[in-house]
Symmetry: C2
Subunit: 747 residues, 2 copies
């Protein structure tokens, strides 16, 4: 067993060469063969070199939203599409975008220190010293000039504030410092504000991203002491996109709310800083020693505060309205021109953005080139392909959201699916999306090869999940499992408006996991960094093109669209089971905690010198009745099973098939609710949403789940009814498809 | 729910005042009342002030084994006992004891650095600058002068070497650096040597003990950058005590083996260092980044090595034979003078040792004072009390082991029980020992008050266990549980020879858990440190006196000795169940791991740039047959249940009762095996032993458990027979007691 890994990988590569499939869902009879031949031609048109050159070109200079270079990039992309044979144009929206005017952070007691707020240039990184970089800041924090005591709030999550309460520390009127990680950054200042903080500093701890993880930039990929993660802190879990034009495309003439009334702009100033700038602040904190889970990797005793530490934070922005340039390219479908398969990746970056977003954009452009070449040779997709390069994604999905809002009616009628990507790198397939498309992605993942091992990307992903699983039991279950698991989508990239606002079936695809590093949203997300530490030879760029390209082409060409509602039903049932368990666990743990309080176990166990507060009594958790929801799922199950197979075997009458396909791709809209989610009606999908207190992180069955988590029992009951109605709508829709007039004719 | 903890504690204290018991096991009828009155008098004779003064006196100067001050301390203790009315004398043994002659540690490549190996004095610590301190070193490492590449081995545990193997790093001919923690220190160089290392450095990482945990000394209690943990690295899991006189008391004329043949002296040089001295060494390491669980809290990227790092390590000792002065004090029993209840705590320290051992010693002396006062007033124990202050504990239990070996025959005949303590501090009762004494300690813990809360120490311990438990389910189980759990004993203090070599029922008692700090085995284990960070007003000194004093007095005065074999049987059954689960888990996890290897999941999941080795194939784990062992436990159960209650109700015929008591306290010796444990026959107890690869940490049913862990299936089978035979012997012994001739007469 001491052969080297190289020998093993070599043997292994030989054994995995025949991975092809002969049948593709949605392509009955001979059409599978034709599609496979098409994909083979498509693959041969993809070039690593091309992708590398596109990454170099589009990351050559800083090109954020509203910059001159951003416009140059958009225009270059439009010309590219056009040269590939696409009908390409730029659609411009006018969006609000704050950029820094003043940034100041000082420790004023017990010692003095002024934060640098600046990332240095390095000779190893050719673009790191360029003009035109956005300074280190968080967009959408309030303007403010505040001075106050400093308190460390760990990751700034709701549970961290539970801990603060036990220590008897109130942050009202104070400035908090939170570390990056565990939640989307925008959640940290939002929760801090809810608790009365007047300012929020977010820093990168070397524990999560710095010397603790490995060599720092430019020696290694991790954050050096000065690297800062920029980023939006908009309250995008209420709605993403331009804060001034909710539900409406931000055209020049759109109706705008006043900035002071925009609910997604934060109410306190926020500033991201490096660990060089954070260290003196953290070292100045007094108060209790932070619990072990709160401690990072700086060489100091992490304390909660406040003690003597006082800081002065001043942030002021230019609140300009700037143009966002979306590039929209189309190839009209030969059979179903009014059915659109949409594919998108943003083009704007915080700075140079070689990884985020250019690596994903370059793969998209390479797909477009190949599809264009096929088109020029006479091979047209049956459905219309719409390839998009979005602007303003970094400021919370501005370009894609405004476009989707503006074209909402047309999209809800025509859009078959939206396929998103963003940054891309070396490693494993990451795939999330609507579960009715799980089977589609499963099939694709078994037909695309991993460039490093020669196995399929499905096999490699499965192997990683097995090796990573914590217990032998879990490993055994994963070994047996023979389908790809599509993860549920929260937010964080351009699919949100399509999926969660419009109910368009969506996918988010990319590769990664072998590309550690701290360049994210810093000036070091550069071409030099990318070729040293990420997808050095751009081979995963080709892999992404193959994956997303297959998704686009299969959806575009399928005789019967490959939606599989048994997967969706199975997943929803799983989520309902999770909710039952969540409620049971809360009921048990709250009851036990109340016993610990009332029987004085906390008091007796406490170290009297530590002065910990006794936790508050928790509410009683009622028994939830998911019976009607489960019945609805049974109806859905029956309808999905009855349908399954039949549609895939369909041939025959083109008009009936067209009607069938309409019903199939429209089905997911049954899952939207008119009222939307509580406190955020823009989000209408009843199954998937970003968490109100997690940000990017998904909450499935969000209406019910968050109501239970937040102890709103009536809301949980109402939301259960909302979801039940949605499931029944979907079951009825599938029942409609199952009626003779469609299926008998397509057989 | 926002009342302060003080209010709550105050209310609480009022509600817990009536905690007394009216019946004590072993004291039938009226004798319980008499014993309770005696304990009440005993309690009133205990003084915090006295304990504080004793701690100050005995920690005033460094007083290690073999030092002039050590002799002065022993003589002072003897005089104290005598002044209290005890028959006290010093018993001297001649033991080997290495002290440093030369210590040198240099980094010689890629940069130069010479370790300081010195703890500085502080004005806040009056004794920290004294003459006569032993330098920082590990006793029992080999003399050596070695130069080699450096490799970081994390905690130096067997599983760490599994990780090294996956990284393809061989430590043969290299010097390893391990961090303190997770195992007894002596295990680290032992395993390193087994893997071919030529030297071993052990350092204290600030993660486990330093600024990561809190303020460092002298500002706070934790290790500053120069603090070093001294300590023995003798291979004491083979046998403790003088390496030259195994199984025999080290009198002047004892037969000695040659030092070169002593199996418990290590074969490679070992040196403990501070994190100041470790940092340049760790920073110099190349090779792969250490896995996350391996990383400490120094501000650097932890790497495994070796890379360029080369060190030069030189350690040379004076291998002197020195006198160990055990102080032995007796009060003869009035009824059973030949039944001895032994109580001990060591008096030697690595340096000043205010906590370790003087805080425990001072409590023992306070008990002796109170018992002596009672004795002078005419109250004599029924059995003989033997109070001991041991020398040379720090060098691996030299004083107690040589005494126990020398008096083995007499002790096996007369010793009813051995009650040990060591350092003592603020917090919760820690109680370990023979499970037949669990009921005794349970009763005591319900009659001793915690000085901080006014609750019983039982209630406080139970509360802590409940609050600490990870899950609601575990908390609920602990809330229901209404008996104290005695932990099983490994090693680490003076009970080993009594319990594991001679089969004398033993207890180890002490308080702690609210006394964090890094003074352990450093020059800062001082009176100044103790009063600032430990049991500041010595009230837990009194609590220990009450606890251990009750154990001694109840065992000394009981009409029928309070052994309860149902607890023992229950525990052993639990251990057998653990072994079944252990075997099942190993069988499953080995099988799964082999699948991962043979089906190439490891290969596919690996990052090709990381070059990880594929794990080796694991052996197949057979099904173990514990049927006969379980039958034996059934027999034991029947005998224990039949006995339980009957002995405790006993009164009557004194001669029969004496015979009954003999059988009761001799019962535990049934659990010794003649052959002893595999590879270490000195350890003869079949239920409790220190782990061969954990050191202090206990392994229950050690013969079977370690054979399974080490994959020695035949040995596991044989050891199962050994344990079965032991259980059957104990069942027969209990059956003997259960016969009419004893119980009918004592009724």
């Amino acid at each position: 067993m001491k052969r080297s890994i190289y020998t093993l990988l070599f043997c292994f590569a030989l054994s995995f060469t025949s991975f092809g499939q002969s049948h593709i869902n949605g392509f009955p009879g001979q059409s599978s063969q034709a599609q496979l031949q098409l994909e083979d031609k498509f693959d041969k048109l993809l070039s690593k070199k091309n992708i590398g050159e596109a990454i170099r070109e589009y990351s050559a200079k800083p090109h954020h939203l509203g910059s001159a270079q951003g416009k140059i990039v958009a225009e270059s992309i439009r010309r590219r599409f056009a040269s590939y044979g696409w009908d390409a144009r730029i659609e411009t929206y006018q969006v609000l975008f704050p950029t820094p005017k003043n940034r100041l952070l000082e420790l004023i007691a017990p010692t003095k220190f002024t934060a640098l707020l600046k990332e240095p240039a390095f000779p190893e990184d050719a673009t790191s010293g360029q003009e035109g970089q956005l300074p280190t800041y968080n967009a959408w924090g309030a303007d403010g000039d505040v001075t106050g005591q400093l308190v460390f709030v760990n990751f700034g999550l709701p549970e961290d504030y539970e801990v603060l309460k036990r220590y008897g520390i109130d942050i009202k009127g104070k400035i908090v410092i939170a570390r990056y990680g565990r939640s989307w950054r925008g959640i940290k200042p939002k929760i801090a504000w809810e608790h009365g903080a007047i300012g929020c500093i977010i820093y990168s701890d070397p524990k999560e991203d710095g010397y603790y993880q490995g060599d720092v930039y430019p020696k290694g990929p991790f954050k050096n002491e000065h690297t800062v993660q920029r980023g939006s802190v908009m309250d995008m879990v209420v709605y993403p996109g331009d804060p001034l034009t909710p539900n409406e495309g931000a055209t020049e003439k759109a109706k705008r709310i006043d900035r002071s009334e925009a609910p997604t702009i934060l109410k306190i100033p926020v500033l991201p800083i490096s660990y060089h700038d954070a260290q003196p602040l953290l070292a100045a904190l007094g108060g209790p020693v932070a619990p072990a889970e709160w401690r990072g990797a700086l060489p100091l005793t992490y304390r909660i505060g406040p003690g003597q530490a006082q800081v002065h934070l001043k942030v002021e922005s230019n609140w300009d309205i700037v143009p966002a340039y979306n590039v929209i390219a189309k190839i009209k479908g030969s059979v179903y021109p009014d059915e659109w398969v949409i594919r998108g990746n943003h083009h704007d970056a915080w700075v140079n953005g070689a990884d985020d977003p250019v690596s994903g954009l370059a793969a998209l452009l390479e797909e477009a080139k190949a599809i264009g070449t096929l088109y020029k040779s006479g091979i047209r997709p049956k459905r219309t392909l719409v390839y998009c390069a979005w602007d303003g994604e970094e400021q919370s999905l501005l370009g894609s959201t405004e476009w989707a809002e503006y074209h909402a009616a047309e999209l809800q009628k025509k859009a078959v699916a939206y396929i998103n990507s963003d940054g891309n790198s070396r490693g494993f397939l990451g795939a999330g999306g609507s579960h009715a498309l799980e089977n589609l992605v499963d099939g694709i993942s078994r037909s695309v090869k991993d460039p490093q091992t020669g196995a399929t990307v499905y096999e490699r992903l499965k192997a990683r999940d097995i090796v990573r699983a914590g217990t032998a039991k879990q490993k055994k279950e994963l070994i047996k499992k023979d389908t790809l698991a599509l993860s549920a989508l929260g937010t964080g990239s351009d699919y949100s408006a399509f999926l969660q606002h419009l109910g368009i079936p969506s996918l988010n695809l990319g590769y990664g996991g072998e590309d550690e590093g701290g360049d994210y949203h810093s000036i070091y997300d550069s071409y030099d960094d990318y070729v040293r530490f990420k997808d050095s030879d751009f081979s995963y760029g080709v892999t992404l093109s193959q994956t997303a390209g297959r998704a686009a082409l299969r959806l575009a060409n399928a005789d019967v669209l490959p939606f599989d509602f048994t997967s969706l039903r199975r997943r929803i049932s799983g989520y309902v089971q999770e909710l039952s368990q969540l409620a049971d666990q809360l009921r048990e743990s709250y009851a036990v905690q109340n016993t610990l309080v009332s029987d004085k176990y906390y008091q007796l166990a406490a170290d009297p010198r530590e002065k910990l507060q006794i936790p508050e009594l928790k509410p009683e958790v009622p028994k939830f009745e998911f019976g009607s929801l489960k019945s609805a799922l049974d109806s859905l199950d029956a309808a999905a099973i009855a349908l399954s197979g039949k549609t895939q075997a369909a041939g025959g009458n083109p008009r009936a098939r067209a009607a069938l396909n309409q019903l199939l791709f429209q089905a997911e809209k049954s899952l939207l609710s008119d009222e939307g989610l509580p406190h955020r009606p823009w989000y209408r999908h009843t199954i998937y949403a970003p968490g109100f207190y997690t940000g990017y992180g998904v909450k499935t069955l969000p209406g019910i789940r968050e109501a239970i988590e937040q102890g709103k029992w009536d809301e949980a009951k109402h939301q259960t009814e909302v979801v039940t109605a949605a499931i029944l709508r979907l079951a009825r829709q599938l029942g409609k498809i199952n009626q003779q007039q469609y299926l008998s004719q397509v057989k």
